[in-house]
Symmetry: C2
Subunit: 642 residues, 2 copies
């Protein structure tokens, strides 16, 4: 109907208007008779659809269609439709389901946008005011409150990229309606242009191929071609000015929306000559509406499609779609995730898979800590999988420095996720000319007065090649890795004791990756694979390994080294063995951690990390083997003979 | 050295000649002192390399380099090189390793090509004669015997496409040398132009993307860009005349060889305008040197990249690299294998994976019958995994008809692979306008006086979606599917009883595939995954399922129906459930099998298969529910109301 409306506006051909009218006639005949949808499942129900969310989407588009033929319709038709469709649905949204309408959540955004837009069409400012300020019209709910509370001051969306790509649609469509009907509200400038920040921060979480990093509940393939992102990109380009990165996104989208904003993008694209490419830089986003609830760090190295990206997550939980994964990271290289995030457990819209909805394994596995690349304490999930507890706390930013692309670092903390355990993770992305590719140095410190069991996991995309650590495979029988918190979904594939500097090498794409860790012989190596306790084959089968350590305070330190080349088609393999040979924690206390890395080609690094209060200027000192080392700032990187 | 030789010939710059001379000086100083390589492993050893094969490759290229600088070298240099390199290596190949040299095998081809080429360079016809006719010069070995015995009269190579792409190099390089030095031998016309048939039959086994179907020991990515295929394509183009399919292959290769043949291809490519695309048709190749040892059937539907391909294997075992997989099939659709072949178990040239050689799991899994899509009798491999027994027998062609692209059929037999069990498999590739895509109908008849356990497996690429058959997953503990014959490498993931018309639906690429089978409640459904008894993680983790039946004579009949559409990125799913609802064997005896297929949209087919002697004209009759059906020819397809 919306497309027919646009076509009617452009062509004036009445067949399009008649099409909409005829559709509306059928809806009007049916709608007043409908009760709540019988297939509703833990959601506010719609009447046409199983969840009210779908119904708000319907109204948002139908409002546009109705607007297009409003003047063409007879007053009798209008009265008929308003009585039998619009008033009924508005009542459903703002009366019976006022709670959903006033909710500071993407479902709320769809609700207010839909009601606000039909309000403008019908000339009913009361509806618009409810949309802007909540059903009580006091600002405790509604669009402006959502703009205040759903984004951090940097524009980062509390649920993460997968859901903002969906929420961008009502945010921008309604903003555009507000801008046209009530320009005095200066909606695009609201909260220091929060809508601009929203679209830019969302786009900056994308991989070079335009796919959104899967943070919290998310598919692994959602990308900037999604309708909401397309709409937001074009409107942002129009309202906030020409921008090369937006053009780079538009080049991936390969389409524009059918209005003046889309025309501006299309013209700029034509003027651009060569195909625009995004040139996003490393960035840290603060999280939480006040910007004080941790954040998300993104390090990038390289350009165009040939980028390495390291993403670390240390913000808010993110409500119902949040994952219990503070200090989790993802590594992207060679155009795919090498150390991946599982994403959600959902075969989206595949009807035989529980109607295409979220599957039980989303909660029992995908949301759990062990499904991520962050330390699990005592085989339990952060905040013991209590969502409300998790929503009360957040990760904490510590320091972030990416000004030198060859020496980038993120450090963050999570102190409120395991009782009695304070965690700090510091990740460096370093390029040493002695190595082919940049490497990641990971330093994960856990501080505790009590002894705990620490599992330090790495999920990987690819095939195991070798380990310097002897292991015994579970060859004829496989059991689950644990009883709950997601462990029950992992088959134990192999186990072994550890050696010093234990390493695991796998092949991913055309490259080898070796993860070498400061292991000691008291530790254990475990290999596992998803798929256990999965009676309906809902999970994908994916490999991981972890190092297990019993300790009070402990520092895990690893280097992730990409190396060599393999092409099966060309039957070529080169440098299948890594260059880094040892990782050692030279010293660690509450003030600092010092890690030494050694390898072939004379590689010898020392990395100093501030564990105290962040400050770029404070002096720090720590004793290493009886000698005092002094340095200034949050970190110090000594590469080789420096 | 070979490239330097070519550059010297082209540029006349002596630096290239000096480079070759200097390399040869070092080889000459070293070579006479070398004994057999210490790392040889079950192969004839080289001296420079762990296997003699590599050494023959070295000589074949060094002979070319030597030829390029022969006249530039002083007579003293030549005498020195010949004494210290060439005579020693020739003696190693034709003396100590005469057996390898005379072997009718791709290793033998490399040997004779290398010795023959250095023979031409040195002007020693005795060496050339050994190359052409064997060390005894009586024709019992050598190049001509290889041309006689390694190919079927159709040019199909007994080891399969993966090895012919390697053997094409010595075949064509030596043929070209013979053609230039001894044109009177008319080598390109030998055995009714067997070299032409060799290259065309190899190329016709490729998928539309240029990747060779993995038959016998083979990687999953070997393709027409391999050097031997490039050489053979260009030389075939020059000697056998311009051919559009060869140009299509050259377009995938995107390069030509640096000689007159390459120039011809390049000029034709330039003249072609639009990028040439292969237009291979469905074809059957006979197998065995006499063409009487079964064959390989390839059915194609569609064109360009949008082809469905069904490949069925029923030829010779193929010696040391052969798999025990008669009546095995592979289904290719949407640019990938949907019902795949595992390929070899080898991480080729990856040094930490057993030096990049074949792994133990190649024999214990990849070669075994259960690793393929063909019925396994009593959980044992064909010919009980006795290679010499398998080499004595072969599959048998029955009938093949692809003249109507919408109604194609292959039927073949394997009577000598399980004692007391005669097998006939008939596969149809049918396009019914009532269905979106072509479907495969598989009719696998096993005839036996004794009761056996029949496992009817389907390996699949993708993710399980649903089954109409209830199954119980092995949720907390997994065990192996069996003790040997490859079953020990399969984890049992789930098991269930059967219903009538049991079906399994999986998602692969953007499409659903449902395999519906004429199951009965006495049968069992088993899901399994590779990876058990794999202590070094050598195997890939891949899913399969099988239907198990205890019976004497039995017919398995299935329809493989592709349907619908899924895009995770677009969050769209359409027609996730199949249209075919039942598959029934209406009648079967030694004369014929009749299968009925029914489904939605009024689908109702009957397929008649001749089980007796093949004849396109013979009349057949069979009783179906008391009524006699009569038809002419090897098969009859009744679609719907026909």
């Amino acid at each position: 109907m919306q497309k027919a409306g646009i076509l009617f506006q452009i062509t004036g051909d009445e067949k399009y208007a008649r099409f909409i009218r005829s559709m509306l006639m059928k809806y009007a005949a049916m709608y007043p008779k409908l009760g709540p949808h019988p297939k509703a499942h833990n959601q506010a129900p719609g009447k046409l659809f199983f969840q009210m969310l779908n119904e708000t989407v319907w109204l948002l588009y139908t409002a546009q269609a109705y607007d297009c033929i409003y003047n063409w319709l007879s007053p009798e038709d209008r009265a008929y439709f308003e009585e039998n469709i619009f008033n009924v649905i508005i009542d459903w949204f703002t009366g019976k389901n006022a709670r959903e309408f006033d909710r500071i959540h993407n479902h709320g955004t769809w609700s207010v946008a839909a009601v606000g837009m039909i309000g403008y069409v019908l000339g009913r400012q009361d509806l618009v005011d409810m949309a802007l300020y909540g059903t009580k019209k006091d600002g405790s709910g509604g669009f402006l409150k959502q703009l205040d509370r759903l984004f951090s001051p940097d524009g980062y969306y509390m649920e993460g990229p997968y859901y903002i790509r969906y929420a961008l649609r009502p945010f921008f469509l309604f903003a555009e309606a507000v801008e046209r009907f009530q320009p005095e509200l200066k909606i695009y400038k609201y909260r220091d242009s929060i809508l601009k920040k929203a679209v830019f921060s969302a786009l900056q979480t994308t991989y070079p191929n335009g796919v959104f990093a899967p943070i919290n509940d998310a598919s692994k393939s959602m990308n900037v071609r999604a309708p909401g992102v397309l709409i937001a990109t074009d409107l942002a380009f129009q309202h906030y000015g020409r921008n090369d990165n937006l053009l780079g996104i538009a080049a991936i989208q390969n389409e524009v929306i059918l209005n003046g904003a889309g025309l501006e993008v299309a013209r700029s694209m034509a003027d651009a000559g060569a195909k625009p490419v995004c040139n996003w830089r490393s960035i840290e986003f603060s999280d939480g509406w006040d910007g004080k609830q941790g954040g998300l760090g993104i390090l990038r190295y390289g350009s165009g499609q040939e980028q390495m990206m390291l993403i670390m997550k240390y913000g808010v939980h993110g409500a119902g779609h949040g994952h219990f994964d503070k200090l989790h990271f993802v590594l992207y290289d060679q155009r795919h995730e090498v150390i991946p995030d599982y994403g959600f457990s959902r075969w989206i819209n595949i009807e035989p898979k529980f109607g295409g909805r979220y599957l039980p394994e989303n909660k029992s596995y995908a949301m759990q800590t062990i499904a991520h690349n962050t330390v699990v304490v005592d085989q339990a999930t952060q905040n013991f999988f209590q969502r409300k507890e998790a929503d009360k706390v957040s990760g904490k930013r510590h320091f972030f420095d990416a000004h030198n692309p060859e020496r980038q670092v993120i450090s963050a903390r999570a102190d409120d996720h395991y009782p009695g355990v304070r965690m700090q993770r510091t990740m460096f992305l370093l390029k040493d000319e002695k190595l082919q590719f940049p490497v990641v140095v990971d330093v994960f410190r856990l501080k505790s007065e009590e002894e705990h069991l620490y599992d330090y996991p790495f999920h990987f995309e690819g095939h195991f090649i070798f380990s310097n650590t002897k292991f015994i495979a579970d060859t004829a029988e496989q059991r689950i890795l644990g009883e709950n918190y997601g462990y029950q979904h992992l088959w134990r594939e192999a186990y072994g004791g550890a050696v010093n500097n234990g390493s695991v090498t796998f092949l991913s794409g055309n490259r080898y990756y070796t993860i070498i860790t400061n292991t000691t012989p008291d530790m254990k190596l475990l290999f596992a694979r998803t798929g256990a306790n999965d009676p309906d084959f809902n999970l994908r089968s994916e490999p991981m390994f972890l190092w297990r350590k019993k300790a009070k305070t402990h520092v895990f330190a690893s280097v992730i080294e990409p190396h060599g080349f393999f092409s099966e088609a060309q039957e070529k393999s080169d440098r299948a063995r890594p260059l880094i040979r040892s990782v050692r924690v030279l010293a660690q206390n509450d003030e600092a951690t010092v890690v030494e890395v050694k390898g072939g080609n004379g590689i010898h690094w020392r990395l100093f990390i501030n564990n105290g209060n962040a400050s770029p200027s404070a002096m720090h000192s720590i004793e290493i083997g009886g000698e005092k080392s002094i340095w200034q700032g949050n970190y110090k990187i000594e590469l080789n003979s420096e």
